[in-house]
């Protein structure tokens, strides 16, 4: 006696959250059944393994049919085939578009192309996430990317509107899309200590301040691409390190302001020129695509690592960066010559952010403060 056909169709589509999770995690029916057996469901319900098998198969089939609709969530709301209560629909969508932290760190900033997709096996073995699940997550990134790529308006809003995601998830997707579009390098060993949350925070600020959308809200793909003009303007910052007088003046201003407030004052004073040179050089190079991609690597190399080797406490880093950019304003020559526009630009872009006038620096310092302060401290001690 073999079962040829075995189906269950409800007027209201039954969704078992546990099975949905197993399905999303890419387990095969057999594995899912084994996992469910291990969870003790048989003892709780008095069911047999055969019943569980049939139930799991059935749910998998339903999810398989729903998957097509989940690719365009608004369709799920308007379709007539599956009668699903709204709360369940939201759950289905949210869970489908959820991603694993470990996975997203692997592909963040990579081109969402076929080539990357081929490497998913490696990522799967590395992260322990099933290949199926990796594929789903990758395809989700790619799909969202394709849909919002050429759209006007706020990136987050577009994602929310077309994929009906929660605010939080939509923001994360905006970060992923932004990184993928600009191809920021995040996979280097040096950057491994940064979490997706750190990058997402950076992305949000960069979208707010560095993109075309920040200047003009009526442009195509306004939130995706960096404002070229702004990057060009950043070149002018070179004067800060190129002009010896200006550099000294800047240093003295910063040192005066920070004297006594910084625990690592002497190190700062000794290293000021190096640090300043590092930061300004990173900023000035951003006109080249390759350097844009290496932004995070460069920042870590040129700024974070020196700080770390000198054991700067986190609060000091922040103080320093604040003062560093604030002092620029009082540099007479700088303001007159060229800086006006740039700093205006920068400040314009950073309205409410009290602790980080120079957004580039923020990347290295503040993000970690917000998300992984502990981690950051570890590296400093």
């Amino acid at each position: 006696m073999t079962s040829e056909l075995d189906i269950f169709v409800g007027n209201t589509t039954l969704i078992d959250e546990d099975v949905y999770r197993l399905w999303l995690d890419g387990y095969s029916v057999t594995d899912a059944v084994a996992l469910r057996v291990r969870s003790g469901i048989l003892e709780q319900t008095g069911a047999t393994a055969a019943v569980l098998q049939s139930d799991t198969m059935d749910h998998y089939r339903t999810f398989h049919m729903l998957e097509r609709l989940l690719h365009a969530p608004p369709k799920l709301l308007h379709q007539l085939i599956f009668q699903i209560p709204p709360s369940r629909q939201a759950l289905l969508i949210e869970r489908y578009y959820a991603f694993d932290e470990a996975f997203v760190r692997e592909v963040l900033g990579k081109k969402l192309s076929k080539g990357t997709k081929k490497d998913l096996d490696d990522i799967s073995t590395k992260t322990g996430i099933t290949l199926k699940s990796c594929r789903r997550q990758f395809d989700n990134f790619k799909r969202v990317f394709k849909v919002v790529e050429e759209m006007r308006g706020s990136l987050v809003d577009n994602i929310q509107q077309h994929f009906l995601l929660s605010d939080r998830l939509a923001r994360d997707y905006a970060a992923i899309v932004f990184f993928a579009n600009n191809r920021f390098e995040t996979g280097k060993k040096k950057l491994q200590y940064l979490s997706f949350g750190d990058f997402a925070f950076c992305a949000e600020l960069m979208i707010q301040n560095w993109t075309l959308g920040a200047v003009d809200s009526q442009m195509d793909d306004m939130d995706m691409d960096l404002d070229k003009e702004f990057l060009q303007d950043l070149k002018e910052l070179k004067v800060l390190v190129a002009d010896k007088d200006l550099l000294d003046l800047h240093k003295s201003l910063v040192c005066t302001a920070l004297r006594g407030k910084l625990g690592v004052f002497s190190e700062m004073e000794a290293n000021f020129k190096n640090l300043s040179r590092g930061l300004v050089n990173v900023a000035a190079k951003l006109t080249h695509n390759k350097d844009v991609r290496d932004l995070f690597v460069d920042l870590v190399e040129k700024f974070v690592e020196p700080c770390r080797s000198d054991h700067w406490p986190l609060s000091d880093v922040r103080f320093f960066l604040n003062q560093y950019s604030a002092s620029v304003h009082s540099l007479d020559g700088f303001r007159l010559e060229c800086g006006g526009t740039i700093w205006a630009h920068c400040n314009l872009h950073l309205p409410g952010s009290s602790n980080s006038p120079a957004s580039a620096f923020q990347v290295a310092g503040t993000t970690s403060v917000h998300h992984h302060a502990q981690q950051f401290f570890l590296y400093f001690q």
Partner: protein, 1000 residues
């Protein structure tokens, strides 16, 4: 020519990509009705076209309006090649033809293609302007309402219940026409869908005519079936109960029934040969009377003389081929004659209803059934309905004579079915013999009904259990006792019926689903040999199914079965029997005795031990079941019973000692010469197997109950969550050395596993009850068994459930109050006004309503504010006639849909399971869409009548046919009603009260 049909095509959405190059579609729509076709403009390059067409107007006869479906075809325009069809929508416009139902059909319909399934949706608006035609000779029957519900619909009152109507139409099956060899599967499927749609329209119209002739205005318990006979044709047949219904809110509107003496007297006293079939086994049991009639020679003779017999049996009524038309004739005579004899005079005093107005049912005799085996290739003139009409007339005659033998003049809960395999066809009919209160069958005024109900109220609680036949002159030996309730009348010790449990019956404990399952191997044979073999097997199967039912009933400690449905399915090499019923403990009937086991070889010590072990197990099971189903009949009742009559005490003791013996025994006596039915003799391994199989039935997990009737006896506090579902399983038997035992075991496991699966799936709804569990078995191929289950899971309140275990006395008091409440309702209804404008009288009867979901309510609908959110409106589906926690305020018309789905890429669609899963989901979606378009938010009395599945995995092909029906309704939640009635500001309610409007 009185009718103008207007159609407007608004828009489409989610269309499939038809042009690979642009990934878009150039869609346009053809609207066809009858032979007229209109087209919309082509909407270029869009998957969401906005046609916004003008109104397409069709001027048509109302006859066509009834027969024809509106056919909407969505196509992709192609400049160079033929336009590609995207899919079709068939809309049955019947609901627009009666005044009280829907006024407009408007909404999103899934675009359906028989090869690809649902491909996007289309928004359509349909209206009908109907001019009244008073032509007496008209062929249409617009205005006759149809209900699938097998009880009087909730917002109506039965003025008269006229009786049985039936009709049958035959056509050549397009699948078997020569042209099918050259046309595409799509064209063939569409031809078939269209034909069936046409045929069911025609059938409904003809039945409507008969109803009008009987002076009725509605058909209740309408059951329409298809017989796919193959080469010999496609039969669509329907039965129903003609009624004159009166809408409760509009008291003045009912028809001035048939007092006009001018009506032509058509009645022909039906004096036919009482049993034309020579070897009927006769009425042998009170519970079942079966007749097997097959004699090959006879079928020849019938063939040759079919026309004569037909004429004599069923005089024609002008048009149509049926025989029920003249039932209307005798009607007036009823008024003058003794009602009882008048009822007998009807050709077929059958009622398809399973639940009745209080007082309608007087006594119940038992189940009557008849089966007959026919050869389809011997039909002389396959395109004409005469032969089939004659077949059914013959079976109905048998049923009628069986009922008569039980001292009953009517059959209620009547149904008919067929099982076809190649050229062999088993026709079956069954029902419950009953004595009815004649007052409902004639023109009664409201007062009359009320009076009747008052007077009946006192006795009906146990009245229906009392035997209708003469005690001294019983048609069969049965064991009678005095009724445990009134102690005046005699009752049988077991009662089997096909109807629902009457609402006023006193039940102890809860009920449960009882199934008997049986397989019998049969040699493959041809034609007559085959038919003979089948008809020889049938009695044994019936007998065994019956024994199983009886044993299982005893094992559950119960004494009555309701909703009994026995299905016999014929396959190439086997016969399957599946009986489902709901067992209950009726307080009026005696306590069932246990089951005794006896061994054949008493000398063997270890064997003895084994036997006693088994006996202990059985006794334990009975005790456990009694606990599980809360069956604890009050002990005192026996004392009471003992006191008024001196003998019964002794008698009852006698009965106890040999209570295993019952009418069942006597049946055995007659047929097999055994002594005692409930002494199970274990003389061989087979018997052992049987006993084991009895014990293997696992009760549902705690918190679950199941029954196949409308409501679960003993539970009356339903909460509002419902989940209707269909589950299909097909198993392949290993073809090697199949024995009856192995087959039985396989089949048993299949059903048990299926039930277990259901319990597991629905575990989140606990505590809940599976109601109206409907099993259908078919044998699509040699080694395949297919079981289809449709049921609804309803949650109930556990805390309140505890209260239901009160004494029957209390319960009956409650009943009485409910009854009073219902009585009061009529005057209330009479003075209450129309739906929308009138504020509600703040009646506080809702609590009572909650207690008995089948009770009629006093609340009228107030059109609920349409839900503001933009998702698709929720449409509930249920096989029951009510929606727990809600009031049905309007019936919008019958839903009767037939779909074919075929695939040539079975593997790609996820194999057979994937294919059928998607198809059933699509069928649900289409039903919901149609209901929503009618303005409804639920389907009640939903039934999947057919699910024929064929596969050919080698060719990667599969085909499935599904036929569903139900009543589209509007319901309003009781909680909302309460809000309205207490005049509080109605805040917008959630999806529960949407008018089913689908908005984008």
């Amino acid at each position: 020519m009185p009718g103008k049909l207007k159609v407007k095509i608004v828009a489409g959405r989610h269309l499939p990509v038809m042009d690979r190059a642009s990934d878009l579609t150039d869609a346009f729509v053809e609207v066809k009705f009858g032979n007229t076709t209109f087209k919309t403009d082509v909407y270029l390059k869009s998957l969401n076209p906005q046609w916004n067409s003008e109104w397409f107007k069709f001027e048509v006869d109302d006859e066509d309006l009834q027969d024809e479906p509106l056919q909407i075809t969505v196509l992709d325009h192609d400049t160079y090649s033929a336009n590609d069809a995207i899919g079709k929508v068939y809309i049955d416009i019947d609901p627009l033809l009666y005044s009280e139902a829907a006024t407009v059909i408007s909404g999103w319909f899934p675009i359906y293609d028989t090869i690809h399934g649902i491909r996007g949706e289309i928004n359509v608006v349909v209206k009908v302007d109907l001019f009244n035609d008073l032509n007496r000779f008209r062929q249409s029957s617009c205005g006759v309402k149809f209900f699938c519900t097998t009880s009087i619909p909730k917002c109506y009152r039965a003025v008269i219940i006229h009786g049985f109507v039936e009709e049958l139409v035959v056509n050549e099956d397009p699948e078997y026409q020569w042209i099918d060899r050259i046309r595409t599967p799509r064209a063939s499927n569409e031809a078939r869908q269209r034909l069936i749609s046409l045929m069911s329209g025609e059938l409904q119209r003809k039945i409507g005519l008969k109803v009008l002739e009987m002076r009725g205005n509605a058909v209740v318990g309408y059951l329409q079936c298809f017989d796919l006979e193959g080469e010999s044709g496609l039969v669509v047949r329907a039965i129903g109960t003609a009624c004159t219904l009166d809408k409760l809110s509009s008291p003045a509107a009912f028809l001035p029934a048939c007092n006009s003496p001018s009506k032509e007297m058509k009645e022909i006293p039906f004096n036919e040969d009482p049993n034309p079939n020579t070897h009927s086994s006769g009425p042998s049991t009170p519970l079942k009377n079966q007749t097997y009639s097959f004699s090959p020679s006879k079928s020849y003779s019938r063939q040759s003389s079919s026309s004569d017999t037909d004429l004599s049996l069923t005089p024609k009524t002008g048009m149509g081929s049926g025989s029920a038309g003249k039932e209307g004739g005798p009607f007036k005579a009823l008024l003058r004659q003794q009602t009882q004899s008048a009822l007998e005079q009807r050709e077929f005093p059958f009622f398809t209803l399973t639940a009745f107005p209080p007082g309608f049912l007087v006594h119940v005799g038992g189940v009557v059934s008849a089966r007959s085996v026919k050869l389809l290739d011997r039909i002389h003139n396959p395109d004409e309905p005469e032969t089939r009409d004659a077949w059914w007339a013959e079976i109905r005659q048998e049923i009628k004579s069986h009922a008569k033998a039980l001292g009953c003049h009517a059959v209620v809960g009547y149904s008919e079915s067929t099982s076809i395999c190649e050229e062999v066809c088993i026709l079956s009919a069954s029902g419950t013999a009953a004595v009815l209160n004649p007052r409902f069958l004639q023109d009664g005024t409201v007062e009359g009904c009320l009076e009747q109900r008052l007077e009946e109220n006192l006795s009906t609680r146990c009245g229906f259990c009392h035997i209708p036949y003469d005690e001294l002159n019983m048609p069969f030996p049965a064991h009678l006792t005095y009724c445990y309730n009134c102690r005046k009348q005699k009752v049988p010790d077991v009662l089997f019926t096909t109807i629902d449990l009457p609402t006023d019956a006193t039940v102890i404990g809860k009920g449960c689903l009882i199934q008997a399952r049986l397989c019998r191997l049969k040699k493959k044979a041809q034609a007559e040999a085959n038919a003979t073999a089948i008809s020889n097997l049938l009695p044994f199967m019936e007998y065994e199914v019956h024994t199983q039912l009886m044993n299982k009933l005893k094992l559950k400690g119960m004494n009555a079965l309701f909703g009994l449905r026995i299905q016999i399915t014929v396959g190439e090499n086997m016969l399957m029997g599946l009986a489902s019923a709901t067992g209950v403990y009726l307080a009026a009937l005696p306590t069932p005795g246990g089951i005794q086991i006896a061994g054949k070889t008493p000398n063997d010590g270890s064997y003895e031990q084994h036997i006693s072990h088994m006996q202990k197990k059985i006794n334990d099971t009975i005790a456990k079941n009694k606990e599980l189903y809360e069956i604890n009949p009050p002990e005192i009742s026996e004392e009471i019973i003992g006191s008024p009559i001196p003998e019964p005490r002794q008698r009852s003791r006698l009965l106890r000692s040999q209570s295993e013996s019952s009418d069942e025994v006597t049946e055995l006596d007659l047929s097999h010469g055994k002594k005692d039915a409930f002494v199970l003799e274990i003389d061989d391994t087979d018997a052992m197997e049987d006993v084991h199989s009895l014990l293997t039935d696992v009760p549902p997990p705690s918190g679950f109950y199941s029954c196949n009737t409308e409501i679960m006896p003993g539970i009356n506090n339903w909460t509002s969550e419902i989940q209707m579902f269909t589950s299909v399983r097909v198993i392949r038997l290993s073809s090697l050395n199949l024995t009856n035992q192995a087959l039985n075991k396989n089949f048993n496991d299949l059903c048990e596993n299926l039930l277990k699966s259901l319990y597991f799936k629905l575990r989140s709804m606990i505590p809940c009850c599976l109601c109206h569990v409907n099993f259908t078995v078919s044998l699509p191929e040699d080694e395949l068994i297919q079981v289809t289950v449709t049921a609804v899971a309803i949650t109930f309140d556990k805390n309140q459930a505890l209260q239901t275990t009160k004494t029957p006395v209390e319960k009956s008091l409650q009943r009485a109050s409910t009854d009073n409440e219902e009585l009061l309702q009529f005057p209330l209804e009479l003075c209450s006004d129309s739906l929308h404008s009138h504020p509600f009288p703040p009646v506080k009867a809702v609590t009572v309503e909650k207690a008995s979901p089948v009770g009629d309510g006093n609340f009228r609908n107030r059109s609920a504010p349409p839900c503001a959110n933009s998702t698709v409106g929720v449409v509930k589906m249920t096989p029951l006639s009510f929606i727990p926690g809600a009031k049905i305020t309007k019936y919008l018309g019958i839903i009767n849909m037939f779909f074919i789905r075929e695939t040539t890429s079975l593997r790609e669609e996820g194999g057979v399971s994937g294919f059928l899963h998607a198809f059933i989901a699509e069928v649900f979606a289409m039903v919901r869409a149609h209901v929503a378009a009618l303005g409804g938010n639920a389907v009640v009395s939903y039934i999947m009548k057919q699910c024929v599945f064929m596969e050919n995995p080698n060719k990667n092909q599969a085909q499935c046919l599904i036929n569903v029906s139900g009543d589209a309704v509007v319901f309003v939640r009781e909680s909302d009603l309460e809000v309205v009635s207490s005049q509080q500001p109605t805040t917008n309610c959630q999806s529960s009260c949407t008018e089913g409007e689908v908005t984008t």
